[in-house]
Amino acid sequence: MKKAEKRVHTLGHKIGFLIFLAIAVINVYPLIFSIFCSLKGNLEIFSSFISLPEQLRFENYITAWKVGNIGRYFLNTILLAAGTLLISGLFGTMASYILSRFRFKIKSGIYLFFISGMMIPIQAVLIPLSYVFGKLGIMNNYGMLLLLYSAFCFPMTVLIMTGFMNSIPTELEEAMIIDGAGIWQVFFQMVIPLSMPGIISVSIFNFIQVWNNLLFPLIFITDKEKGTISMGLLAFFGEYSTDYSASMAGICLTTIPVIIAYVLFQDKIENGLMSGAIKG
């Protein structure tokens, strides 16, 4: 670690750093762009693309908050996302542990069975899914929705977690087993902490899936109080015109907290857990 730090100061790395800075700025730009748009009037957005707002229209945020029901929908979406991450993270990691470490006949078959789920366009299964949900009468049911979201998160979870576990050494957990620890103990005290970087990465992807998913809540939630962010943002796209200012304000209101949370928590979780586990 120490050696790498010194290298940053060589010339080559400085140039690399600058290039990287440029790329990073290009990535941050859309957020700044969104913030600009959210403070402009609708006509202004389309008449001058990159200019600063003529006057700051904070009322767009008030509109977005009220019309998009952002406060309520933000909490709902966080709830759904947290539940999905928990279910898909725990069960997905359990399955990946088996697929990475254990030996049995149909292992590669089961692995492919999970992975193949990534190949399904979500629109393709919407009608069969709503048959099932409709017949069971489980609309507006967060429990079922969590299982549904999780089901669609498992393929990527299994792909990434199995790959990740394949790359971490097995000696430590084997030593633990020889010392007489039970399988649950090994899993929770050794496997999970060691896999944390993988779990975090996959949780980021799964979070984005849930956060931006429009089709599931659209079809399976009819109770307005149970809506999600993506449904709230729809309220600005009309038959004859679109309120882009308010929609951008809504996007900023919902995105910025997530980015802040990402910056604050990701390193904390990673560092905290990694320092606990012994690196080989």
């Binding site: 730090e5 690399g16 990287f20 990073a24 990535n27 859309p30 762009f33 969104s34 693309f49 279910i87 898909s88 069960f91 997905g92 399955a95 542990y97 088996i98 254990f102 049995f104 999970f114 992975i115 193949s116 789920g117 990534m118 190949m119 399904i120 366009p121 629109q123 393709a124 299964v125 009608i127 069969p128 899914l129 048959y131 099932v132 299982l147 089901a151 669609f152 498992f154 393929p155 792909l159 790959g163 990740f164 790359s167 050494p169 020889i178 399988i183 975090i200 990465s201 980021i204 992807f205 931006n212 951008m248 919902t254 995105t255 980015i259 990402y262 910056v263 990701q266 990673e270 690196k279």
Partner: protein, 298 residues
């Protein structure tokens, strides 16, 4: 040790929850979609399915637009694999080296992923705007290259590359994150040993990092392939009609139109089935190819 690794009870208990949820909520619906693809159905509950055998598939492969969509999506996949994975890993390796601003850099790649498609579409709409008011065209004109300015999303020659760039931009962060996660799993001692051997620069990346990250590379490639073969959002938002002369039409967009706009549910399901089979084939083939290169055991 061997005994535990073969313990059927543990295997079943650990696999069961994920397997079961996945089976009920994803696999069964997929099987139903495949079943639909052998039928004609207008998407009306009271109308019975009419078995038509392979007709839907045969008609599709006679349909020029569908063939065009396959061609487009293959170009899309190849370009995305070539662009997204190397870029993502290059960025990951670079960020890993940084001690300062690491959080800022990571977060900056998180933004395009989390930002709503609406914002992304609006932004790129302005960048690709067809007149000399467009951001890209303005830049070209100021750079003294006015001949290069064009209607990026309308011109059949540039519309698909334009979309590929947007996809690359939105998803490169995924592969950076996978790369970073892979790097944290490599013990420092291994990297230090490699550095003692005197490997530097590109050689170090190629002979040291890539082999150690090979599992991550493999899964990234699979993610790109499966993700791009079913691509819908980016295409639908930037070129809702599938582009001039179908220059940006992709199977998922056709599937959406057939099922949800034209009421040809059997045809739509058949397209979905083809997307599924293609992804499986391409994934297996590329896994085979990638498995030829052994990852380093450490």
């Amino acid at each position: 040790m061997e005994k535990i690794r073969k313990n059927k009870k543990i295997i079943c208990i650990f696999l069961f929850p994920a397997f079961f949820i996945y089976l009920c909520f994803e696999v069964i619906p997929v099987l139903m979609t495949i079943y639909f693809s052998f039928h004609e159905w207008p998407g009306i509950q009271s109308v019975p399915l009419e078995f038509v055998g392979l007709d839907n598939f045969v008609n599709l492969f006679r349909n020029e637009i569908f063939l065009k969509s396959l061609k487009n999506v293959f170009l899309y996949v190849i370009a995305s694999v070539i662009l997204q994975v190397p870029l993502g890993f290059a960025l990951g390796l670079l960020v890993h080296k940084f001690t300062h601003f690491k959080r800022f850099f990571k977060a900056s790649f998180f933004i395009p992923m989390i930002l709503s498609v609406t914002a992304v579409a609006l932004l790129w709409n302005f960048i690709y705007f067809p007149t000399d008011k467009g951001i890209l065209n303005t830049l070209l004109i100021h750079a003294g290259l006015p001949d290069l300015a064009r209607q990026w999303l309308v011109d059949p020659e540039t519309s698909l590359p334009a979309l590929i760039i947007v996809s690359t931009w939105t998803s490169v962060g995924y592969y950076m994150i996978i790369c970073l996660a892979g790097l944290t799993a490599i013990p420092d001692s291994v990297i230090e040993a490699g550095e003692m051997d005197g490997a530097t620069g590109i050689r170090k990346v190629w002979y040291l990092y890539i082999p150690m990250l090979w599992d991550s590379v493999k899964m990234s490639v699979i993610m790109v392939i499966t993700g791009v073969l079913k691509i819908f959002d980016t295409v639908y938002i930037l070129t809702p009609s599938g582009g001039t002369d179908n220059s940006t039409i992709v199977p998922a967009l056709l599937m959406y139109n057939e099922s949800y706009r034209y009421g040809h549910y059997g045809t739509g399901s058949a397209i979905a089935t083809i997307i599924f089979i293609l992804s499986a084939l391409v994934s297996v083939i590329s896994l085979r190819l990638m498995n030829k290169r052994e990852s380093i055991e450490y």
